[in-house]
Symmetry: C2
Subunit: 246 residues, 2 copies
């Protein structure tokens, strides 16, 4: 099926159409392509199965064309937007091929990454979310790399890319504030964390997540340094709890 | 206090900072100025107190400067964004004064209106939401007026304005689809309606509103004519139920 020259992308799951539950295009009807593999191991990662080995048998190595075909087979004609998430899809140098194939079919492409790696194909992404990880993740983002990424994006339309920081506690919010101060002109989102990624009681989960959202709203409202900020939950968890593939 | 020349704005309430719970800048930290008076009487209006006489004693006639002063007194320096809502604030011909005063202080301004009336000061609004009312409202939007409004906005940046249709049932969704087809290049949102604006049991309300959101997502996912669409709830009702002033 694949010619020798085609490059493979490690795919964990392809699903949709559904709504994007978070960030700059929250609510957008979209398909998801979730890649396997990550350079981070966030303490609270809600997609740890992409890198912790627990779902390694589900990983498939597909060409960009095969991914497009599977998107079409799954979503039919009921989508015009694809979100590439992970793991960290920025690990994949030749992802630009997939972006090109989708654009050829008039399909917009969003990407979610922590901002630890630059790829030239970022310039083709319609909705790019850079999500540097706060202290609670136990990761330590390299801000020189993030500086470089942001500077390479400076000629893009301002609504094509954004920063998003997940916040679990006050220390995380201080980190979010420092990121917003560092890049004051970049569209900026703070988002409630989900510290119960294994909770299966949806009612209890939603009630707790809404309380966490209210806590985050209250904290952001107090801070004049966080005026040009959007505060959002992960909407999909309100609807589907911790289920995968929706 | 007021010189004779200053024009008065009928204000129902001023509150914040809080988050914008819906539409194109959902999650944005903002102050709200809610004006009194409406040319519509939607069957399910969630702010009927602005026009049904039930809160007429709360209406104050304020100048643009007085409104700015009250915003500052209420929100201090913890805001850079003001949302003007109603009622229908587009009824007020001289609202442009308030927009100017706010812009002078580097404060962005959002406006929410049904799109039944054009005002030249719409061109100064940073986030303009036009929300033509669906059949369940029992109102009949004049689409010639909406055509005119959209055509006057055509040179604005595309992320400065949007259409939003509230959807309670399939007939409303058909209406939403017809609006999206009429203005395919305008940023488009569909939003769950709240048919229990007097429910005081927050848990019951939220559970029901989330079910309605899931219903709307499912319906939009099926329709290829609704691919470039964002589907959102009213987030503030998840956090604060039907409370006013938050």
């Amino acid at each position: 099926m694949n010619t020798k020259k085609e490059k493979m992308i490690p795919v964990m799951e392809i699903f949709g159409p559904t709504v994007q539950g978070e960030g700059m295009v929250i609510g957008q009807k979209t398909m998801f392509v979730r890649t396997a593999g990550c350079d981070y191991q966030c303490a609270w990662c809600d997609s740890a199965f992409t890198w912790d080995g627990s779902a390694k048998d589900e990983i498939r190595r597909l060409t960009a064309r095969e991914i497009v075909n599977e998107l079409k087979a799954t979503g039919g004609d009921a989508f015009s937007h694809v979100t590439i998430s992970g793991g960290n899809p920025a690990l994949i140098r030749h992802m630009g091929e997939l972006v090109e194939h989708l654009h050829e079919q008039n399909i917009d492409v969003a990407l979610e990454t922590q901002g630890s790696i630059w790829q030239d194909w970022f310039l083709s992404i319609d909705d790019l979310t850079l999500s540097p990880k706060p202290p609670s993740s136990k990761m330590k983002p390299n801000l020189q790399i993030l500086d470089d990424i942001i500077s390479r994006l400076k000629d893009q339309p301002s609504n094509n890319y954004s920063l998003k920081v997940v916040v679990f506690n006050d220390e995380d919010l201080d980190f979010a504030e420092s990121i917003h101060k560092r890049y004051p002109n970049v569209l900026f989102f703070v988002q409630t964390g989900n510290n119960q990624v294994h909770e299966e009681n949806d009612k209890r989960l939603v009630s707790d997540l809404i309380s966490r959202y209210e806590w985050l709203i209250d904290r952001v409202m107090e801070r004049a340094a966080l005026n040009r900020v959007r505060v959002l939950p992960q909407l999909h968890t309100y609807v589907w709890g911790n289920k995968r593939g929706v």
